[in-house]
C-alpha cells in the first residue's frame, strides 16, 4: 500500500503539487488523470525518487520513502513519459543493466526476458542501439526492462504513447494481469477510454490539486452516468463552450 500525505512540490513560485493526499491499495490499478501541467508526472516522479518533494510524505508498505529509498526502489519499476534514456546502449545491454540494478540472476531473468521479448516482438532488435529505435520501440524496450524484476509496484507515465495497437492492447492486458497478482499498477494517461477500461481507482488533478479520488463507477454515479469525457471536462476542463475553437476555425465547423 502506498500512502501519500500532504505532498507539495514547488518550482520557484509555481506550485506543481498542493497538499496531495491519497492512498493506493495493493492489487489495484490506479490512474492519474489531468491536463498537461496538472501534476501527474510530478506525483509519479516523486514516487520513484526522481523529484524531491518540497514537503509531505510518501510511505510504501509502511516504509517512509525518504528514509528507505534504496529498499523501496527495489520494489518499484518505472516507465518514464519519454523513452529517450540510455540511448547509447543496445536493447540487450539496457536489459542487462536493469537486471543488475535489481540484482536478478541470469536464471531468474532468462525466461521472463525471453517471453517479454516475444510478446513485444523485439527479438530482431536485441543488439541494436536504442538510439536507432523509433519512439514505440524505445517504449517497448523500457517496458520489457521494467517488467524484468516483476516489480511489486509498477509505475507508468503515459505508457501507451507511441505504441502500435497490438502493443497497446498487450500492455493493457499486462497491467491487468500484474494487478491480478496482487501487485500495484499506477499510471498516468490523457486517454479517458484507457482510464475507464483499466482503473480500479483514479485521481483527477487540476493545477496541482486533487479534485477527485475514487472509482470510475462512483464518479459516473455522482454525475448521472454521463460519459467519462463529459464528466472529466466538466471538472478539469476549460469552460468556454467552444468559443475559442470558433475563433480559430470560424463557425463552419458547427
Amino acid at each position: 500500500m502506498i500512502e501519500i500525505k500532504d505532498l507539495c512540490k514547488n518550482y520557484g513560485d509555481k506550485k506543481a503539487l498542493q497538499n496531495l493526499t491519497l492512498t493506493i491499495k495493493s492489487g489495484e490499478i490506479f490512474g492519474f488523470l489531468g491536463h498537461n501541467g496538472a501534476g501527474k508526472s510530478t506525483t509519479l516522479k516523486s514516487l520513484v525518487s526522481i523529484i524531491e518533494p518540497t514537503s509531505g510524505t510518501i510511505t510504501v508498505d509502511g516504509l517512509d520513502l525518504k528514509a528507505n529509498r534504496q529498499k523501496i526502489k527495489e520494489k518499484i519499476a518505472y516507465v518514464p513519459d519519454t523513452p529517450d534514456i540510455f540511448l547509447q546502449l543496445t536493447a540487450g545491454e539496457y536489459w542487462d543493466l536493469l537486471a543488475a540494478a535489481y540484482q536478478l540472476s541470469e536464471d531468474d531473468v532468462a525466461k521472463r526476458r525471453h517471453d517479454l521479448i516475444e510478446l513485444f516482438d523485439m527479438g530482431a532488435h536485441v543488439d541494436e542501439t536504442m538510439a536507432s529505435f523509433s519512439h514505440g520501440m524505445r517504449q517497448k524496450s523500457i517496458l520489457i526492462g521494467a517488467l524484468l524484476s516483476d516489480p511489486d509496484v509498477w509505475i507508468l507515465d503515459e505508457p501507451l504513447q507511441g505504441l502500435d495497437p497490438q502493443a497497446a492492447h498487450d500492455l493493457k492486458e499486462l497491467m491487468k494481469a500484474h494487478a491480478a497478482k496482487g501487485k500495484t499498477v499506477i499510471f498516468s494517461t490523457h486517454v479517458l477510454d484507457t482510464a475507464q477500461q483499466l482503473c480500479d481507482e483514479l485521481a483527477i488533478l487540476k493545477k496541482g490539486q486533487l479534485i477527485y479520488n475514487g472509482s470510475v463507477a462512483d464518479l459516473r454515479a455522482q454525475h448521472d452516468n454521463q460519459s467519462l469525457e463529459d464528466i472529466y471536462l466538466g471538472m478539469a476542463g476549460r469552460q468556454d463552450d467552444g468559443h475559442l475553437v470558433d475563433n480559430i476555425e470560424g463557425d463552419e465547423h458547427e
Binding site: 525518487s49 543496445t90 537486471a99 543488475a100 535489481y102 543488439d127
Partner: protein, 534 residues
C-alpha cells in the same frame, strides 16, 4: 558495494567514456559482454603501447644524471593526464546524460559515482603510466635496491595521479556549482576543454622550446623545470632533508585539494550533477528578457544554426584540427630558429603562395570540421524542416554560408599569425589569403555535400559523425595525404619558381590548372547537390 551492480555500471560508463571505440566495435557486431571485453582490452593495448614507446626511450636514458629530462617527462605526462582527465570527466559525467536516468533504479549513489570515477581513472592511466616507469628507472639508476625502487615509484606515481585527478575534479565539479555552468553547460565545458588542450600543447611546446641545455656535465640534458625538481630529489635520496621538500609538497598539495574537494565540492554534488544532466528542459530563466519575436526566416535560421555550434566535443575537434594543428606547425618552425623569412621574396612567388593557401585549406577542412557536420547537427530537426513550406535550398545555403564563414575566418586568422611570424610581404599574404578563401570554399562544398550524403540524425555522441565514411583511418589518410601531396606540390612549384627562369610560365600553368579543376569541382557540386533542391 554490490559487485553485479558495479560491473553493470562500469560497462555503461566504458561505453560513454569511449564513444568512438564503442561505435567502431558496434559496427563489427560487438555488443553486451563481448563489447565490454573489447573496450577493457583497449585500455590494456593503450597502456602497453605507451609503455613500450616511452619505456624503451626512457630505458636508454640515465635520469640520475639528467634532472632536466626527468622533470620534462614528469611535466609532459602530468599535462597529458590533466587533459585526458578533463575530457574523460566530461564524457563520463556529462555527455552521457545518464545520471538522471539512474534515479528511479535501485543503484546506490556511491556505486554510480565510484564506477564513473574508476572509468575516468582507467582512461587516464595509459597516458600517465610511463611516469611509473620513469620513477622506477630513476630510482634504480640512483642505486636504490630494486624492490624498494618499485615501491617508491608506485607510491609517488599514485600520489601524482591522485593530485592530477583532484585538480581536474576540483576544476570540473567546482564549475558545476557556478550559475554560469548551470545556464551555459556546453559553452563552459567547451571553453574548459579548449583551455586545457591549449595549456597542454602550449606547455609541451614551451618545454620543447627551452633548448638551453644544461650541458656543462658529461650528460646531454635540458634545463630542469624548477617546480618539479623536488620530485627528482625524492628518487635521488628518498630519506633525506633534500627530498623532504618533495614529499611535503606532494602531501600538502594533496591534503589541500582533498580538503577543498570534500568541503567545498562534494556536498550536494550528486544533486547538482543530476540537475545539470537535466537542465536542458528546465533552464528557462524567468528573469531573462523575452527574446524579440523574429518573423523573418533568415535571422531565425542564423540564430538556430548558431545554437547548434554549442557542442563541446565538436568545438574541441574544430579547435584541434583547424587551430591547434596549424598553430603547432607555425610555432614549431618559429621556435626551432629555422623560421622562414619571406620578407625578401619577390612578387613572382604569388602563385606558390596562392597554391599554399589552397593546400592549407585542404589540410584544415576535413570530416571533423564544422562544415562537415553541420547538417547532421540538426538531428531530427532536419527531417522536420523538410516537411515545412520553406525552400530547402535556402535553408541549406544559409547553413553552408555560416559553416564556410566560420571556417574561412579561422583559416585566415591562422595565416595572419603565420604571416606575422614569417614576415610575409603584403602581396604574397594577399595571394595566400585568396588561395585559402578559394580552397576553403571548395573543401566546404565537398564536405557539406558529404555530410548530407552520409547524414545521421539520431546520433548520441558527436564522434559518431566524425567516424562516418572511412572512420579514423580515412581521417588520418586524408590529413597526411593532404599534407604530403600538398607539401610535394608546393615544394615542386617553389623549386621551379625559385631556381629557374620559368616562373611566369609555371604561374600561368598552375593557375590554369587550379582554375580548370575549380570550375569542374564547382559544377559537379552544383549538379550533384545544390540542383537537387531546385
Amino acid at each position: 558495494m554490490n559487485k553485479q551492480q558495479l560491473r553493470a555500471l562500469m560497462s555503461v560508463d566504458l561505453r560513454l567514456a569511449n564513444p568512438q571505440v564503442t561505435d567502431r566495435y558496434r559496427k563489427k557486431g560487438k555488443t553486451g559482454a563481448a563489447l565490454t571485453k573489447k573496450l577493457t582490452n583497449q585500455f590494456v593495448y593503450n597502456t602497453i603501447i605507451f609503455i613500450l614507446i616511452y619505456g624503451f626511450t626512457m630505458f636508454m636514458l640515465d635520469f640520475s644524471k639528467m634532472p632536466g629530462m626527468f622533470t620534462f617527462y614528469v611535466g609532459l605526462f602530468v599535462l597529458l593526464g590533466i587533459s585526458q582527465s578533463i575530457s574523460s570527466i566530461y564524457n563520463v559525467f556529462f555527455a552521457g546524460k545518464d545520471l538522471a536516468s539512474y534515479l528511479p533504479l535501485p543503484f546506490r549513489e556511491k556505486e554510480i559515482f565510484f564506477s564513473k570515477t574508476l572509468i575516468v581513472f582507467l582512461n587516464v592511466v595509459p597516458f600517465t603510466l610511463p611516469l611509473l616507469l620513469l620513477f622506477f628507472y630513476t630510482g634504480w639508476r640512483f642505486g636504490i635496491f630494486i624492490p624498494l625502487a618499485i615501491i617508491l615509484a608506485i607510491v609517488v606515481f599514485l600520489l601524482i595521479m591522485a593530485l592530477v585527478f583532484l585538480i581536474c575534479a576540483l576544476i570540473v565539479f567546482g564549475l558545476t556549482k557556478t550559475k554560469l555552468f548551470q545556464h551555459h553547460k556546453n559553452a563552459v565545458m567547451s571553453g574548459l576543454m579548449a583551455i586545457t588542450m591549449i595549456i597542454a600543447v602550449a606547455g609541451i611546446l614551451l618545454m620543447n622550446g627551452s633548448n638551453n641545455y644544461a650541458g656543462a656535465g658529461a650528460s646531454f640534458d635540458r634545463a630542469p623545470i624548477t617546480l618539479l625538481l623536488p620530485i627528482y630529489q625524492i628518487f635521488k635520496a628518498p630519506i633525506s632533508l633534500a627530498s623532504g621538500e618533495g614529499w611535503l609538497g606532494l602531501i600538502a598539495l594533496l591534503s589541500l585539494f582533498a580538503a577543498l574537494l570534500k568541503y567545498q565540492v562534494l556536498p550536494n554534488l550528486s544533486e547538482q550533477l543530476t540537475q545539470v544532466n537535466t537542465t536542458e528542459v528546465n533552464n528557462a530563466n524567468p528573469h531573462k528578457k523575452a527574446r524579440r519575436r523574429q518573423t523573418k526566416l533568415v535571422p531565425i535560421l542564423d540564430a538556430y544554426n548558431r545554437q547548434l555550434l554549442k557542442e563541446p566535443n565538436l568545438l574541441l575537434q574544430v579547435l584541434s584540427s583547424s587551430i591547434m594543428m596549424p598553430l603547432i606547425f607555425i610555432l614549431t618552425f618559429a621556435m626551432n630558429g629555422s623560421a622562414f623569412n619571406f620578407g625578401q621574396l619577390p612578387v613572382k612567388w604569388f602563385g606558390v603562395f596562392f597554391v599554399g593557401g589552397l593546400v592549407f585549406a585542404a589540410m584544415t577542412v576535413n570530416q571533423t570540421a564544422l562544415i562537415a557536420n553541420l547538417i547532421s547537427l540538426d538531428r531530427e530537426n532536419f527531417e522536420f524542416v523538410r516537411s515545412l513550406p520553406i525552400s530547402m535550398k535556402q535553408y541549406l545555403h544559409r547553413k553552408f554560408q555560416l559553416g564556410f564563414f566560420f571556417q574561412v575566418m579561422i583559416n585566415i586568422l591562422m595565416l595572419l599569425i603565420a604571416a606575422i611570424t614569417f614576415k610575409m610581404p603584403l602581396v604574397l599574404l594577399a595571394s595566400l589569403i585568396v588561395g585559402v578563401i578559394w580552397g576553403t570554399y571548395l573543401m566546404c562544398l565537398h564536405y557539406f555535400r558529404r555530410d548530407y550524403r552520409l547524414r545521421i540524425t539520431n546520433w548520441t555522441n558527436i564522434t559518431q559523425l566524425f567516424n562516418r565514411g572511412g572512420g579514423n583511418l580515412a581521417l588520418v589518410a586524408t590529413m597526411f595525404g593532404s599534407i604530403i601531396i600538398g607539401g610535394v606540390i608546393v615544394a615542386a612549384y617553389a623549386v621551379v619558381v625559385g631556381t629557374t627562369k620559368l616562373a611566369l610560365l609555371a604561374n600561368v600553368i598552375a593557375l590554369s590548372v587550379v582554375l580548370i579543376v575549380s570550375i569542374w569541382f564547382w559544377l559537379r557540386s552544383q549538379k550533384k547537390f545544390w540542383r537537387l533542391f531546385d
